[in-house]
Symmetry: C2
Subunit: 192 residues, 2 copies
DNA sequence: TGACAACCGGAATCGTAGTTCACTATAGTG
DNA sequence: CACTATAGTGAACTACGATTCCGGTTGTCA
């Protein structure tokens, strides 16, 4: 239903496949280091390819950013599914999931910046990934709530919202700004 | 000590003073409507002056933004001082201050965007205003804490941080994103 | 009212980045 | 080993938007 055209094409040539990966990794690194204002030329240089090659793989800068965001969301989702399989006190498991995913975030806060700058536009192209993340998260929350360890009135969307706030703290370098602390405040608030 | 050079200059000509105000107001309106990507030309048009005039008053776009931010901070501070003078249950007074200032924020979330985008650079030029806001806020918190109505471990800096998170929610149009809700979560968490 | 300094307007300039394209290189295939 | 569809390259093109500049205007003051 949401299958892309890609699947109908013959497989990429070996060098193309290799470069695709290199570009994505280069982009991740460069955006992590310089933020959104990093240029495509920088990405190309870091990846060791020409600009043209970047554009052969991603039609626009925004598309490239979009793919990076989608990958990040997949990591979040993967962690969530893993947490779902874990044994243990539900609230603790959930809190640890938040901590772990936050850690994934800081790894390159620039992507976070991207999410906020390009905002809804990009996230509209990540519906699937968002869904994939929200499903296990909701289940995890339901468990904690049934166990009476989590406020019964919080929803998955609240979590997105609150974590979005935490990640805002990450990109800010204010005095006394400490996202770890922010996150613990949030976790505390979710508790019973 | 931190007095500006302006004071040492002869007063502005009447038309210049008028334009200064118009530009600031036009900028506020335009940035509120189109966000940071609004152009100086737009500001000029809205203010009913030429671009050159804008540049006569503010050397760069960033400087203009900076002044807007500073003005906003002064409003926050004003509200805080007012709250300080108010009678009543300390925590409630403080919570209402947060609500009121949040309301001031949304009025033009673009300024908020500015704070996050230009980030630390602008806020470095708003030290004075920040101080002016933090002083009464801290006093208000101390009262609530002495009354045993507020968590004793939160600081003024925590408030900046958390409110920064709330304002991130304002600029985001995610599904199920509701900054009022976010704010109430925060207030709840601050409570004893 | 006359003179001039301060001010205004907005076309023109300049720098910056995203994007294209004409040409070259190479993986895959028979 | 040819042959060709794919892929790569980077100089050149473009669009856009901040900033400059100078001829014309206007407040102010004697």
């Amino acid at each position: 239903m949401t299958t892309t055209v890609t699947e109908h094409r013959r497989p990429l040539r070996a060098d193309a496949r290799r470069n695709h990966e290199r570009i994505l990794e280069g982009a991740r690194a460069v955006f992590a280091e310089y933020g959104l204002e990093a240029q495509i030329d920088d990405v190309a240089r870091r990846a060791g390819v020409g600009v043209g090659t970047v554009y052969r793989h991603f039609p626009t800068k925004e598309a490239l950013l979009g793919e990076l965001v989608r990958r990040k969301l997949r990591v979040f989702a993967e962690n969530a599914r893993e947490a779902l399989a874990r044994e243990g006190e539900p609230f603790g498991v959930f809190a640890d999931l938040l901590r772990r995913n936050a850690e994934v975030c800081v790894a390159d806060a620039a992507i976070q910046h991207a999410l906020m700058a390009f905002g809804q536009h990009i996230s509209m192209h990540a519906q699937v990934e968002l869904e994939e993340l929200n499903k296990p998260t909701a289940e995890l929350m339901a468990r904690a709530q049934r166990a009476g360890a989590m406020r019964p009135d919080v929803t998955v969307d609240d979590i997105s919202m609150l974590m979005c706030g935490v990640s805002a703290t990450m990109t800010q370098t204010g005095p006394g700004f400490d996202w770890h602390r922010h996150l613990e405040f949030v976790i505390d608030m979710l508790r019973r």
